[in-house]
Structure formats: structure tokens, C-alpha cells
């Protein structure tokens, strides 16, 4: 299958969506593209992997892992998004300002930007050329900034501005890194592909390569939300519409992570793998620790979820920093975290719609008021906290075991302590919201099935991964871990 | 080059320096549509003042009597350090550019002391401004000299300035242009011209240089006026060394060109004074820092290119 299709079809559909004024038609287009993308990515990712030897876009084991994640999440978010648009039409979102005159209807902009967002994320995952990768990553920022600003409130404006500014600056630094990468090689265009760099691994100048890695880690790390570069993340995640938050957290952060991994892939055969691994470990631990602190006493539940994303990005980064075994855990965790976090943001969206507030302390007894929403919220809590039946337990445990195997006692202590802090923080907030007696004046309202099915399915997928990992997936994970961690022990 | 010709430049300076204010005034008069005072007015003033008696205020002490002559002698000494018209200065040794900067500093110091000695608040205010602005202007001069010293690889003023040729302008036009424009601003600032200070203002509150010498009279005042003209000549010569590199064809060709160059600088100053308004006092530091920034940019880029 030609990888260009994954980029072009959503891109063209996205541009078309701006100009379709019929809601039903536009939603059909949106959902069918999402569906097609999922079918295509599952087909492309199923072994045997057909490596497409393109200079620009191509498949490899990492792509085979990350592309389906993005597709699944996008389909889920799209279905949920259509449901959310439907219910918003009945009962406007609390943040929404009275409608002013817009050239395109807000929904057209929303669906168009969603599709462009999908196109750019697919581009990031598929790109084999570092320059092209930079272009599409910046494109993800540009496509998602209007999504964050969808509600057009002051808060969302502030969040979108911070997002656009901080990420653009970060990504500009990453471009510097790309140029350093070019300097490490000869600077010619064909050598800036991953294959080109790997072929010339012996003759690359390591000083420039180190510099390139630092800049790209800082640049794309901003986008990935590694602390202390995460400052845009809680604002953007809490102000964006919930399906967008789900995509930002579950798909976009992964894309940024993948882009850093690409450089790491080049660093490995050049003998500076230890250098990049140490940086991954450092950023991972800092992110986990900081996020844990911020989760405690977090007054807003969507912000709490955002900080939890920072924490889990820390786990991913730490896992890669531990070599192949950790990388396996990290890859598995990327998958688990995406599913669970997307599910949680969708559940949070339902709660926000029911209670019309983001303040956690104002919400009690979701389980009584609406058992479905409450069950999703509780299930999500158990999953994100890494409790046994869910896949997150497995992946977090693999990382911990690797830490212990390598006798990194301090790192293991920080890791466990941060997980514990986050657990306590999230438990105190989320359990309080779910349990207890609801305010008697509140009525029970019915949630749109389109807003329940996606988080439910994602939750079951995460549950399933904890019980059983399919062989194909296992192989893909091992290949991916080998690509970024050297040989498997 | 015979040693005796080296003295021609400074002697020209001693002789012709009072011409410069005259030329500036004539240009300003021309722009204002007046006939203006004679070009030689400054000479008449000097002769008149020398013949007059001196009045000292009761509050002033010995410093006040002594300062004008210290100022004048420091400036004259500085004049003899400044190479002119493509020839070496009569006094020159390694590192003499620091001495020149500090001689000018001593001249200013003496003037400031005299101003403070009068005990008048106006003069104290002028002194305070003079010191503030000169503190910002001095780096501009020094960094510029450092830049040229880096260019020539020498540390003597005559060597530094003598190494600038038409070829240097071809090599680094942008940097030398930066230096030239910064030094022109410096010339305006150091010599109390518009846009930094207005020599013709009648409001003591806005004066800088003029207010400092309000109390001096007679020959003392003459010394101050003469020192100011010489200072203008020194800065003009500095600028001219940079923008009009006179190669060594022969002293008798260089000197007329040099004098013509000096006069055209005076004309330019007159034009600037005619078409610009004085800056607000708050803006002056910004201008001077800007000038310093220009030369420092040139210096850093020079270092980077090396």
C-alpha cells in the first residue's frame, strides 16, 4: 500500500470539509475517512510488513505500531466528536460563546481541522526524512491550534495561543537540530533520511549528532510534553473539546515521541546510544516526578488528566532510556496509555457535559446520577493507575522490572514514588467525583450512545491487552523495541 | 616623511579649530535664511575675551580658577596625539589611544569640577548630565578604537588609524560604515551639538555643556571656548581618518584635502543641526547606547569573521 495515501486522503478530505455546508454529508465524509484510515493502517501494519522503500514516506516496525494507534484513536474521537456535536446542538457547551458570524461554520472548521490533523499525524508517523518530518510536525501544531480554540472562549484562546507559541518555538529549535543532523552527515538531501543516516553511521560526526539530538529532544520534547517543557500541555488539554484532548494526549504526544525516537535510532549505531539513553532517562524521571506533584490537589479534573499524560510520557521516555527491555515496555505502554487516556478524556467530556464545570470539587456521585458515565470514569481510573487487569499494569511493571534488573535503585525509587503520588492524587480526585450522593436537584440525563461507545470500546481494548497480547502485536513490539533499543536480551 | 611635517597637522588644528564653529553657524544661518555671523566670529570672540578681566563669584574657590587651563592643556595635549591628514602624530607610542581617551576625560573632569565649584544648582545639573552622557559615550569611542586596533593588529593611535586604507573599505564596508556612523553620533554628543545638546538654547534647564560654563568669564571663558573648538577638531580628525583615508602621496596634497574634509564635516554638522530637533533628554542615553551597540556589533562580527 502506498503510504502517501494515509496523508493525502485525509488532507484532501479535510480541505473539502471546509466547503461542505451540509452537516450530514460532512460527518459522513469525516467518519468514512476515519474508518478507511483504520482499515488501511491495520492492513499495512499486519505482518508481513511490506517495507515501502520510499525516500519520504515509508513503513517500518515503529510505524506498524504507532499508525494503528492513531487510527483507532481518531476513529474513536471522530465518533465521539459527532456525538458531541449532536448534543452540543441541543445544549451548548458551557464554554461556548454566542455565535458570531464566521465564514465557515464552526463545525466545518472543526471537522476540517480534525482531518488535517489526522493527515499531519500520519505524515509524522510515516515520514522517513528528517526535514519532511519537521514540516509535518509543525503542521500538526497548526492543524490542532484551531481545534483547541473551538469553543472560542477567553480561556480556550489563551490556551491555544500558548500552545501555538510554545510549540512553534520548540519546533523551531528542532529545526536547528535537523540542520545539525545535516551537518553530522554531509548535508546532502538524500542522506537526511533514516536509511541514509543509518548507512553512514560509521562516518557521522558524533559531536554534531549529539547536538542534533539535544535540540531535537528539546524541540519535539516540548511537543511531547516532557517536563519542564510541558507548560502548554495542561492548558491546551483542559480547554480543548474532549475528543481533541483525547487525540492530543493519545496520538499527538506519541507522534512527537516517535520523532525523537527516529533520531535515537540514528544515535544507536554511532556509539552515542548511552548519551541519548541517559537524556531519555533524565527527562523521563523529571517528567514523572513533576507531574506527580502537580496531580496532587489538582482542582480541575481535565488538567489532572493532562498532568497524568505528562507522567506517562515520562514513563515512555524512561523506558527507552533503559535499553531494549525497557523499550519493549515503553512501546507497550505507549499503546496502553493512548487507549486509556483517550477513553478517560472522552469520559471526562461526558462529565463536563453533564455537570458543566471542570472543577473536580463541584462534582459528587457520578455513579448514582449516571451509572454509565460513572462506570467509565471509575474504569478509566483503575486503568490509568496501572491496576492489574489492565494492560497499563503490565507495561509499567516491565519498566519497573528493567529498572530493578539494572540495579538502578534511585531511579526505581523515584519511579515508584511518582507512580504512588499520582495514584494517591488521582484516587482522591476521581473517586470523590465518582462516589457519594449526588446533589438531589440534579436530574438524570441520557448520554448520547455515540459518546459512550468509543470510550467503552477503548476501555475494553486496554483491558484485553492486559490479559492477552496477540502474537502479531508481540512481534511488532519486539521489532520496534529492537529498532530503538538494540538487541533483545 | 620628515619629522617636521608631522607638526603641521596639530598646528593647523591650533590655528583653524575656531573656524569650525563659525562654519557651522554660517550653515545654520543659511538654512534659517539669515546672513549669519562672520565665519571668523570665534576668533574675534577669543581675542575680545583674552583682553577682558575676570569676575569670580564669592562661592567659587581655587578649582574654578585653575580648571579652564587644565581643560585647555589636556585638550591640546590630546591634539598632539591625534594623527592627522594621513601623517603620524608628533607624539605617539604604544597604547597612546588610552592616553588620548583619558586626556579628554581629564578635560571633562576639570570642567565638571569647575561647574560644581560654583555651587550653582544649574551648573551642577549640567555637570551631572555631562557625566552621565559621557559615561555612555566613552565606550563608543573605546570600542571603536579597539575594533580598529583588532583590524590593524597595532595598539598605537597613529598605527591604528594609519592602517585604514581604501582597501579596508573594500574589505569590510559594512563594519566601517557602522563605525563611521557611530563616531559621527559620538562627535555630535561629545561636542554638545543637536540632537544631544543645543548650543544656542537659552533655557538653562535643557542645557548640558553651556550651562556648565555660565559662570566663567574673560580669559577663562576664552580658554573654555578654545578648548571646545579644539575638541571638535580632534573628533573631526578622528572621523576623517576613518572615512577619508588619505594615502601618503605627499604632505602638501594631504593637508589641503584634510582641511577641506574638516570643513565639510563642519558643514554636515551644520546641516544636521538645521534639519533635526533636539532629542528629549530621556532619549539621549538610548541614542548613545545605540551608537555603542553599532560599534560593538562591528567589533563582534570582526572577531567572528576572523
Amino acid at each position: 500500500m502506498n503510504p502517501w495515501l494515509f496523508v493525502w486522503i485525509p488532507a484532501i478530505a479535510g480541505c473539502m470539509a471546509y466547503f461542505i455546508s451540509n452537516d450530514a454529508l460532512r460527518r459522513t465524509l469525516w467518519l468514512s475517512v476515519a474508518f478507511l484510515h483504520l482499515i488501511g493502517s491495520l492492513f499495512a501494519a499486519s505482518p508481513p510488513l511490506t517495507l515501502f522503500p520510499g525516500a519520504w514516506f515509508g513503513f517500518d516496525s515503529l510505524t506498524a505500531l504507532f499508525l494503528p494507534i492513531t487510527s483507532i484513536l481518531f476513529l474513536g474521537a471522530s465518533v465521539y466528536g459527532v456525538g458531541a456535536l449532536r448534543r452540543d446542538a441541543r445544549m451548548p457547551h458551557p464554554d461556548r460563546l454566542p455565535r458570531r458570524s464566521f465564514r465557515f461554520s464552526p463545525e466545518a472548521i472543526f471537522s476540517g481541522c480534525m482531518l488535517l490533523f489526522l493527515a499531519s499525524m500520519s505524515g509524522v508517523i510515516l515520514s522517513r526524512h528528517f526535514g519532511l518530518q519537521w514540516v509535518v510536525i509543525e503542521a500538526t501544531t497548526l492543524a490542532s491550534a484551531p481545534l483547541i480554540y473551538y469553543h472560542r472562549s477567553r480561556h480556550s484562546l489563551e490556551a491555544a495561543w500558548k500552545y501555538l507559541m510554545i510549540c512553534s518555538v520548540g519546533i523551531a529549535l528542532a529545526l536547528l537540530g535537523v540542520f545539525c543532523l545535516a551537518l553530522a552527515g554531509s548535508g546532502a538531501i538524500e542522506t537526511l533520511t533514516i536509511e541514509g543516516m543509518l548507512e553512514r553511521a560509521g562516518v557521522l560526526k558524533t559531536a554534531w549528532l549529539k547536538l542534533a539530538f539535544i535540540f531535537i529532544l528539546i524541540g519535539y520534547g516540548t511537543k511531547m510534553g516532557l517536563a519542564p517543557l510541558h507548560t502548554w500541555l495542561p492548558d491546551a488539554h483542559s480547554e480543548a473539546p474532549s475528543p481533541v484532548s483525547a487525540l492530543l494526549s493519545g496520538a499527538l504526544l506519541n507522534c512527537a515521541f516517535l520523532s525523537i525516537l527516529r533520531v535515537h535510532q540514528v544515535c544507536l549505531p554511532c556509539g552515542i546510544g548511552d548519551f541519548s539513553r541517559d537524556l531519555f532517562t533524565l527527562f523521563g524521571l523529571v517528567s514523572m516526578g513533576l507531574a506527580g506533584i502537580f496531580i496532587l490537589h489538582q482542582p480541575e479534573y481535565k488538567r489532572m488528566l493532562a498532568y497524568s499524560s505528562v507522567e506517562h510520557m515520562g514513563i515512555l521516555s524512561l523506558g527507552v532510556g533503559l535499553g531494549a527491555a525497557g523499550a519493549y515496555g515503553s512501546m507497550l505502554h505507549a499503546l496502553n496509555h493512548s487507549l486509556v487516556k483517550a477513553m478517560l478524556f472522552m469520559a471526562a467530556g461526558n462529565i463536563l457535559w453533564m455537570y458543566r464545570t471542570k472543577t473536580a470539587s463541584a462534582i459528587r456521585g457520578i455513579l448514582r446520577r449516571n451509572p454509565t458515565a460513572g462506570a467509565l470514569w471509575l474504569g478509566g481510573f483503575i486503568a490509568i493507575a496501572g491496576s492489574p487487569p489492565f494492560g497499563t499494569f503490565l507495561s509499567e511493571f516491565i519498566v519497573l522490572r528493567t529498572l530493578l534488573d539494572q540495579s538502578r535503585w534511585l531511579a526505581a525509587a523515584i519511579y515508584t514514588l511518582s507512580l504512588l503520588t499520582a495514584f494517591v492524587g488521582m484516587a482522591s480526585i476521581m473517586l470523590r467525583m465518582a462516589l457519594g450522593d449526588p446533589n438531589p436537584t440534579e436530574t438524570r440525563e441520557k448520554l448520547d450512545p455515540l459518546c459512550i461507545a468509543p470510550p467503552l470500546i477503548l476501555g475494553f481494548l486496554a483491558l484485553g491487552l492486559g490479559v492477552f497480547i496477540p502474537r502479531d502485536l508481540h512481534l511488532t513490539l519486539i521489532q520496534a523495541a529492537q529498532a530503538i533499543g538494540g538487541f533483545m536480551p | 616623511m620628515t619629522p617636521s611635517t608631522m607638526w603641521i597637522g596639530p598646528l593647523c588644528g591650533l590655528l583653524f579649530a575656531p573656524l569650525l564653529p563659525g562654519v557651522i553657524n554660517r550653515v545654520k544661518a543659511f538654512f534659517a535664511g539669515r546672513r549669519g555671523q562672520p565665519i571668523l566670529q570665534a576668533y574675534h570672540d577669543l581675542f575680545k575675551l583674552v583682553r577682558k578681566g575676570v569676575v569670580y563669584s564669592e562661592t567659587s574657590g581655587g578649582v574654578f580658577r585653575f580648571a579652564p587651563y587644565l581643560t585647555l592643556s589636556a585638550v591640546i595635549l590630546a591634539l598632539f596625539l591625534m594623527p592627522m591628514s594621513g601623517m603620524r602624530a608628533p607624539l605617539s607610542f604604544q597604547g597612546d589611544f588610552l592616553l588620548m581617551v583619558y586626556l579628554l576625560g581629564i578635560a571633562r573632569f576639570a570642567m565638571v569640577l569647575a561647574a560644581l565649584d560654583t555651587g550653582s544648582s544649574f551648573e551642577g545639573m549640567g555637570a551631572s548630565r555631562e557625566v552621565q552622557f559621557s559615561a555612555l559615550a566613552e565606550p563608543c569611542l573605546l570600542v571603536g578604537l579597539l575594533f580598529l586596533s583588532a583590524h590593524s593588529g597595532r595598539v598605537g593611535l597613529s598605527d591604528i588609524l594609519g592602517r585604514i586604507t581604501a582597501g579596508s573599505w573594500q574589505d569590510m564596508p559594512a563594519m566601517l560604515a557602522l563605525l563611521g556612523s557611530a563616531w559621527f553620533i559620538l562627535l555630535l554628543a561629545e561636542n554638545a551639538r543637536i540632537p544631544v545638546d543645543d548650543p544656542n538654547t537659552h533655557l538653562e534647564l535643557t542645557m548640558i555643556h553651556e550651562v556648565m560654563i555660565l559662570d566663567t568669564s574673560g580669559p577663562d571663558f576664552g580658554a573654555m571656548l578654545y578648548a571646545a573648538a579644539l575638541k571638535l577638531w580632534i573628533f573631526g580628525a578622528l572621523l576623517l581618518n576613518l572615512i577619508l583615508p588619505l594615502g601618503p602621496p605627499s604632505p602638501w596634497v594631504q593637508i589641503p584635502f584634510f582641511v577641506i574634509g574638516m570643513l565639510s564635516i563642519a558643514v554636515t554638522v551644520g546641516v544636521v543641526e538645521s534639519i533635526m530637533a533636539r532629542l528629549r533628554l530621556l532619549m539621549v542615553p538610548k541614542l548613545l547606547i545605540g551608537a555603542t551597540a553599532l560599534v560593538t556589533t562591528a567589533l563582534i562580527m570582526k572577531m567572528a569573521v576572523r
Partner: protein, 224 residues
């Protein structure tokens, strides 16, 4: 080439000292133009390979984006002065320090041995630092956009200095990204101006972690 780099460095210093938004925007336009020229000229005379990127860079960075920003400035009722957290004189001095630092770094990297132009590297680093400095110390949203643009210019200058031969399509992609980015920022400045009646980003303090126990503004504040 040296002349171009010196002039580029000069625009950086002047940008730190300029107190009027319209002048700053014009300085950035000049900067974009000079950058295009550097790509066109290269280290030794006219450089045909840089033709497309040089011209497109000049067009986007020298004409289109500054025009867009000037338009935004005119439309928003913002005061035309830049209100800095750090004064202009101090900013300029810091700018000089940053330039010195860049020159020192360029010198330490021993670029000449690798056949790279240290002057261009100095300027590239300097512009990036100046851009970051402007983003941090100026409070208007439009100055932050300018800072981003300057920083981007610095990165671009480094690309020119590194002699990275991106293909034409990639160059266009990068420029398109920058263009759309600044375009979006422009639109958002409009909206910020309308919602907040100012474009001062230092008053963007409504979103924060009020972990100290104080409750945040209710999210329902938007409902009118």
C-alpha cells in the same frame, strides 16, 4: 557575504532597541530580505542553487509576513509602543552580550576547520537568542510573533550556513509552515484583541494550577 551578516546582526540589535511596533516589523522585513540575499549569494558570489529558496524566502519573510503583521497591527486597536519588561537600553546591551556569546560559541565550535562560515553561524545563533529574548521580555502578542519570526530567521540562517540542500519542495514546506503559523497567530491576535481588549500576553494568567487551594475561575464563566 560579510556585509550581509553584519547587516543581519545589526537588525538583531536594532530590533531590541526599537520601541515602535511598526518599525520592528519593518526591521524584520529587512531581515527577511537580507536572509534571502544570503541564500542567494552564498560564501562566494552568486549561488544558483539558492535561487529558489532565496527568492521564496524573500517573498514570504520579506514581504508577505511583514505585510500581514502590519495589517494586524493596524486592525487591532493596540498601542503602537512596545512595552517591555526590560528597558530598551538594557535590552540592547543584553543583545550585544548575546552576540558576543554567539561569536564565542561559533569560535569554540571550530567551524573554519569544517569549511563553515563562523560569521553566519554567529548571526544565526544571535538571531535565535534575540528572538527568544523578545518572546520572553515583550508583553504584546504581536511582539511575541515577531520574536518567533526572528528566531525562525536565525534557524534559517543556520540552514544557509550549514549548506543544507533541502529540496525545493521541502523549502516550500518549511516556508508554508512558517507562513501558516504566523497567519494563525495573526488571526488569534485579532481575537485576543476583541476578547480581552488588549494584546498583552502577561495578562494571560487565567489558566493556572491553583494547587495552593484557591479555586480557579469557574469554567462556566464563558456562558453569557
Amino acid at each position: 557575504m560579510t556585509t550581509l551578516t553584519v547587516l543581519l546582526a545589526l537588525t538583531g540589535v536594532l530590533l531590541l532597541g526599537s520601541s515602535r511596533l511598526s518599525i520592528s516589523i519593518r526591521l524584520v522585513a529587512i531581515q527577511g530580505f537580507l536572509l534571502g540575499m544570503t541564500a542567494l549569494w552564498g560564501e562566494s558570489g552568486f549561488h544558483a542553487a539558492g535561487l529558489s529558496s532565496g527568492l521564496s524566502g524573500m517573498l514570504v519573510k520579506g514581504i508577505v509576513l511583514p505585510w500581514l503583521l502590519l495589517f494586524v497591527l493596524k486592525q487591532s486597536g493596540a498601542r503602537r509602543e512596545i512595552e517591555p519588561f526590560i528597558g530598551f537600553g538594557a535590552s540592547m546591551l543584553i543583545g550585544l552580550l548575546l552576540m558576543g556569546l554567539s561569536a564565542w560559541i561559533a569560535w569554540r565550535m571550530q567551524l573554519v576547520e569544517q569549511g563553515l562560515s563562523p560569521a553566519l553561524f554567529t548571526v544565526a545563533l544571535d538571531l535565535m537568542l534575540v528572538g527568544l529574548f523578545l518572546i520572553i521580555t515583550r508583553r504584546k502578542a504581536i511582539t511575541q510573533t515577531l520574536g518567533y519570526l526572528i528566531m525562525e530567521n536565525g534557524v534559517y540562517a543556520l540552514g544557509v550556513g550549514a549548506g543544507t540542500e533541502f529540496s525545493f519542495l521541502l523549502e516550500i514546506g518549511v516556508l508554508l509552515d512558517v507562513f501558516v503559523g504566523v497567519f494563525l497567530m495573526g488571526i488569534m491576535i485579532f481575537r485576543i484583541d476583541r476578547e480581552f481588549e488588549h494584546i498583552d500576553t502577561d495578562r494571560f494568567i487565567e489558566l493556572r494550577d491553583t494547587a495552593s487551594g484557591k479555586l480557579p475561575v469557574e469554567a462556566g464563566e464563558g456562558v453569557r
